[in-house]
Symmetry: C2
């Protein structure tokens, strides 16, 4: 969307970043920069991670499997994304990819695949999700990358839930509360959004959720939203009301 | 998302619907119901349109190209979606498909493809967009279908813009206003959301937009959103603040 940022490659790098440091990139990163993007010695890019922020960098050795960069000056201080998690029941491959990408753009701090009774779980590929979250972070100019957790059963997750974190659950029965006022009332508290599978929660799961003190059912209007639409919509409204889209009151 | 609604086929039908009427469906609908979904005489579905709402219906003649239904009782009164339009610069095929589907789920009344300087316009297939909007409406339980207009140049659209309709423009420069308070201040007015192409608006286009009295620049936070993410996010926040997601104050 912002054309001026389109041309510069942003690379997530786990190594600590400080001005004048020389960093050997991973073989994957070397392949991407030198083979795919055809960068050479002297070319610039930027490197970032959550701890150090973002730095300009220049390639000082370009090879197919080895690439070394010199870290130049800091261009962005480290910034952590708002304290919201996305919990979602994995969908078909394309849709899950979409959810990971969009949740990253929409600034979640963590992504947790949740297995419910009606979840279609061919196989949850956590490594793949992590790579997607990293790539989406590179694209959307975050300096942090969402943490992607391994899949967990809904019951197990609820049993060990941190009591201070509000779990907003998308109530499909239209019985949920107004999302704007609910998010507003609870802003400042750590939060999570839970999106059920295409088949919905079972009555038992729904009853369990309704009885937990940290759970709030919210409504996203009268139309039926697909799971991936509901995830995006809830995260967008939360960021707008209680997250970092909010501009000075 | 709502399992109980999953099993019943909803069909958009242009013919007027009244109880006890017999309606011959289009050849496409007959093919879909009788060949693809393998429905037979006696099977039920529901039929809807914006003027008449939604009715139960029973198949009384099933054929590969001809299908006649008897309209039973009304199950949903006609309801028009909130008065928000989506204006967007067409993207690559998959992403455009996605935008049409999501905008329909998110309750837009009209979808207008807009040609800007940086728009990649291989070919805008209005007929295809109309079919997608119809299908998404069937899925998401709307009774109306968004109007899809033929593509129009941004300048032409702005020249004939209805003055009372606020045009929210997603300002990528971070200079835009807070979206929640802006939507809230202007609620009750007809609205539209304009999402630029991947390459952004040109400085000339941006200057033109900034100078128009019905345009308001809004911000969707510090991360870079892809065009399709921005469209969903803006529509979700608008519906939550000023549209039909709002529950009694």
């Amino acid at each position: 969307m912002r054309p001026h940022s389109k041309n510069k490659i942003r690379l997530f790098v786990e190594t600590p970043l400080t001005s004048a440091a020389e960093v050997d990139l991973s073989a994957d990163a070397a392949h991407y920069l030198c083979n795919v993007m055809r960068l050479n010695e002297g070319d610039t890019l930027s490197c970032f991670n959550a701890a150090d922020g973002e730095y300009d960098a220049r390639i000082i050795r370009a090879g197919k499997k080895n690439c070394r960069v010199r870290i130049l000056s800091q261009i962005k201080a480290p910034a952590v994304s708002p304290d919201i998690w996305l919990l979602f029941a994995p969908l078909k491959k394309d849709k899950t990819d979409f959810v990971i990408e969009k949740a990253t753009e929409l600034g979640v701090r963590a992504i947790i695949p949740v297995i419910t009774r009606n979840t279609i779980t061919e196989r949850v590929k956590t490594e793949r999700f992590i790579a997607q979250a990293k790539e989406a972070s590179e694209q959307c100019e975050r300096t942090d990358v969402p943490v992607v957790r391994p899949p967990v059963a809904l019951g197990t997750l609820l049993d060990s839930w941190p009591a201070e974190r509000i779990l907003f659950f998308l109530d499909e029965s239209l019985g949920g509360a107004d999302c704007v006022s609910t998010f507003d009332q609870l802003k400042g508290q750590p939060a999570a959004v839970l999106v059920g599978p295409e088949g919905g929660f079972t009555p038992g799961e729904k009853a369990e959720l309704d009885n937990l003190p940290f759970v709030r059912g919210i409504s996203l209007g009268p139309r039926i939203l697909r799971a991936e639409t509901a995830a995006c919509a809830a995260l967008a409204v939360w960021q707008a009301v209680a997250g970092d889209w909010k501009k000075g009151e």
